[in-house]
């Protein structure tokens, strides 16, 4: 390793970056745009659920139940004259659920009890359907309670579940999605910055120029890594600042741990890009691999949206080669919980192994030879 040679290579790479500003855009514009879209766009908090109501025979009882729905912040109900028109509305996507009170609803409620309230949800989006069922269920129970109190005989519910959610009491989806998103965005940045840099030199023939100089291959790769690492960390800092100041995600862990894990992750992501670039040799193939191997695996297999423990065992094992998986876990802990060693350390270890594999692969497969 020669300090001066590496410095020279870094300077060369810096000129390259300045000449085609697209890599500056990757480091700073990409996270800005994506974080804004994600931060404002992605939400699992259902609200104003369009619900169609059909009441065969309106009475004071049906009116009081409908009023309860009307007052809930979750629903925006519309009354339909009959079941057929409500079903048409659901087919066209204008209603997500139908609530039907039959003509004998009031009579049965007052005599035998257990008078049915029919709720039909559009089950295509199963997750959303289940959320709607839960909301209607909650509203119905509150109404039952209120009816019982009105009649002077408060309903004694046998078991009351007091649910507490730690780290994110209001379950604001933004607070846990943003740390996960940062992990995904950093995966993209890291891989995009380096995916083409080696392949580009092969394709343009400039690699031959470097070959004839006395620089070692580790020096060439280091010269490629350092400038992009600096830019990537800049992008990471910007994303963190946006999370804290724009989206008001709490940062409960220390900045040192956050920066440390981020640096390790960025190195892993850059290493992955570098490995792609070294192995592919042509920019076109490298770009295709980068498109296929970065975003979707990080989006689906990192545990940011889909629970890893609920996946089949084989897929769970497979998630261990997705670097974002470790970073999602450390980021969510760093932001929402704090510096919890028992979570941070195993994930840092996982990242370190992957990082070594990617960088090792790049060094091993990078030949200082023309063939």
């Amino acid at each position: 390793m020669n300090r001066m040679r590496i410095k020279g290579l870094i300077r060369k790479e810096a000129y390259e970056i300045l000449r085609d500003p697209s890599s500056i855009a990757i480091a700073f514009v990409l996270p800005l745009v994506l974080l804004l879209i994600f931060g404002y766009g992605v939400s699992l908090d259902a609200r104003s659920i369009a619900i169609a109501e059909v009441v065969d025979q309106p009475t004071y009882l049906t009116a009081s139940f409908l009023a309860e729905l009307e007052h809930s912040p979750w629903f925006s109900p519309t009354l339909y004259p009959d079941q057929a028109s409500a079903e048409r509305a659901m087919m066209r996507g204008r209603a997500q659920a139908i609530l039907w009170l039959r003509s004998d609803f009031t009579r049965r409620a007052l005599s035998s009890g257990e008078s049915p309230i029919h709720l039909t949800v559009n089950g295509v989006d199963a997750n959303q359907a289940r959320i709607i069922q839960n909301y209607v269920n909650g509203t119905w129970q509150a109404w039952l309670q209120q009816q019982a109190t009105l009649q002077g005989q408060p309903l004694a519910v046998p078991v009351v579940a007091d649910v507490r959610i730690w780290f994110n009491p209001a379950l604001t989806s933004r607070e846990y999605l943003i740390p996960g998103l940062i992990a995904i965005i950093m995966t993209l940045i890291g891989a995009l910055l380096t995916a083409l840099v080696v392949a580009r030199e092969w394709e343009r023939g400039t690699m031959e120029g470097i070959m004839v100089t006395p620089v070692a291959k580790t020096e060439i790769l280091l010269g490629k890594l350092v400038p992009y690492f600096v830019m990537g960390m800049g992008g990471m800092m910007m994303s963190t600042a946006m999370a804290v100041f724009l989206f008001h995600v709490p940062l409960r862990g220390s900045l040192t741990v956050l920066v440390g894990t981020s640096a390790l992750f960025l190195l892993t992501a850059l290493g992955m890009g570098l490995a792609i670039s070294v192995l592919a040799r042509s920019q076109f193939v490298a770009a295709m691999v980068a498109i296929v191997a970065t975003f979707l695996p990080a989006f689906i297999l990192s545990g940011f949206l889909f629970d890893i423990r609920s996946m089949p065992r084989v897929i769970q094992i497979l998630t261990h080669i997705v670097a974002a998986r470790y970073f999602v876990a450390t980021l969510q802990t760093s932001f929402l919980a704090g510096d919890i060693r028992s979570v941070i350390l195993p994930n840092v270890l996982g990242l370190a192994v992957l990082c070594a594999v990617f960088l090792g692969l790049s060094v091993l497969r990078f030949r200082k030879r023309l063939d």
């Binding site: 766009g41 257990e114 007091d162 846990y176």
Partner: protein, 372 residues
């Protein structure tokens, strides 16, 4: 006319050769989409299975054990060994060995016997809030069921009403039926981006695009020659992926195949158009790659693939109108689950065609302008 067809045909052959001749690029184009369909199809589910939980039970009675047994017996939850202090609960949640903890006080059974509300504290790890929210729904339904049986056991008057819910199109609310058609859409988008997103940029960088421009071919023919391979590869792979969704994942296909294929062609028209537009805006492949990501990532996130469009703020909902994947996902899910056909999909076809036409025009007009 004949000469034109010959020229376009020659260009299509050249494009397909450029794409498929290199074993590496051929492998990337065919292998990963199919592998990803299988892996993601299994991975992407909103059902919880084997979520670990701990119990701190200070109650000696029978009823608390019964409640715990309900949780332990549910396929969604796995009971870890019991803990004996609140600190142990804290440790288990903090280090993520458990997602949920049940904390049952010493008077639980006694309260229940006396007809007093018996409280059970349930703690969920909010770092995995999506999982926590789903788990909370499961908890509510287990407790509701338990309460109903308590009512009956004590001969109390049943509540005046019951809520009966059922679901259309997906009676068991299997989220895989929802996700797998979505993955079909995403992977079709991926394939069309792979084939078109870099095709012009690569030729620009290599200098062969200038050669193409000095041939007697007008830009419209070049555009056609560049677009058709994307169509061919996209249709072939899209069909394969849809075929696998039906025969591998057994997602029911209830709608019209014709309606779906018209949708597939409209979608490919718009995504190939966008890919060519990105590609002709870019001067280097690096820029093309950046453009592909700047389009593809928001397109997937805002399509309603995993998070419903209805939950987005109104301003963002308007942006999704520009997203071709949004329309294609409606067509895919409509034809798979809702039994939809051409008549129902009209409102999805024309935005796709509009997006496609506009992008193709921009791409074609950029061919000549960006020389040098």
């Amino acid at each position: 006319m004949r000469a034109m067809l010959q020229r376009v045909f020659a260009l299509v052959v050249k494009e397909l050769l450029a794409l498929l001749r290199d074993p590496a690029s051929r492998a990337v184009l065919i292998g990963p989409p199919i592998i990803q369909l299988i892996v993601f199809g299994y991975a992407a589910t909103f059902e919880l299975k084997h979520v670990p939980f701990v119990v701190y039970n200070q109650d000696q009675g029978q009823l608390s054990r019964e409640l715990v047994a309900r949780f332990a017996g549910a396929p969604s939850f796995d009971l870890l060994s019991p803990v004996h202090s609140q600190e142990a609960i804290e440790r288990a949640i903090n280090d993520k060995s458990a997602l949920m903890a049940l904390d049952i006080g010493p008077n639980f059974s006694a309260d229940l016997e006396r007809g007093q509300p018996a409280h059970v504290q349930i703690i969920l790890d909010g770092r995995d809030s999506n999982t926590a929210a789903i788990a909370m729904g499961y908890v509510q339904s287990i407790v509701t069921q338990f309460n109903r049986e308590q009512f009956l056991r004590h001969g109390a008057k049943p509540p005046t009403t019951v809520l009966l819910d059922r679901a259309w199109f997906n009676p068991n609310l299997d989220s895989r039926w929802f996700i797998v058609p979505g993955i079909c859409g995403i992977l079709t988008l991926l394939v069309s981006m792979l084939t078109t997103g870099l095709s012009v940029a690569r030729e620009r960088e290599m200098g062969t695009f200038d050669q193409l421009l000095v041939t007697p071919m007008p830009p419209a023919e070049i555009l056609l020659g560049k677009a058709l391979p994307g169509f061919l590869v996209g249709t072939a792979e899209g069909s394969l992926i849809i075929f696998m969704a039906v025969f591998w994942f057994h997602v029911p296909f209830t709608g019209s195949l014709l309606g779906l294929y018209i949708g597939l062609l409209c979608f490919l028209f718009s995504s190939v158009g966008i890919g060519l537009m990105i590609s002709s805006l870019a001067v280097t492949q690096q820029q093309g790659l950046l453009g592909v990501f700047l389009f593809m990532v928001p397109a997937i996130v805002l399509s309603g693939f995993a998070t419903p469009i209805a939950n987005m703020p109104p301003a963002v909902q308007y942006i999704t109108l520009l997203d071709p994947l949004r329309y294609f996902l409606i067509i895919l899910r409509g034809s798979f689950l809702e039994g939809g056909g051409i008549a129902l999909f009209g409102p999805q076809y024309w935005p796709l065609l509009t997006i496609g036409v506009i992008c193709m025009i921009i791409a074609g007009s950029l061919f000549r302008k960006r020389i040098g």
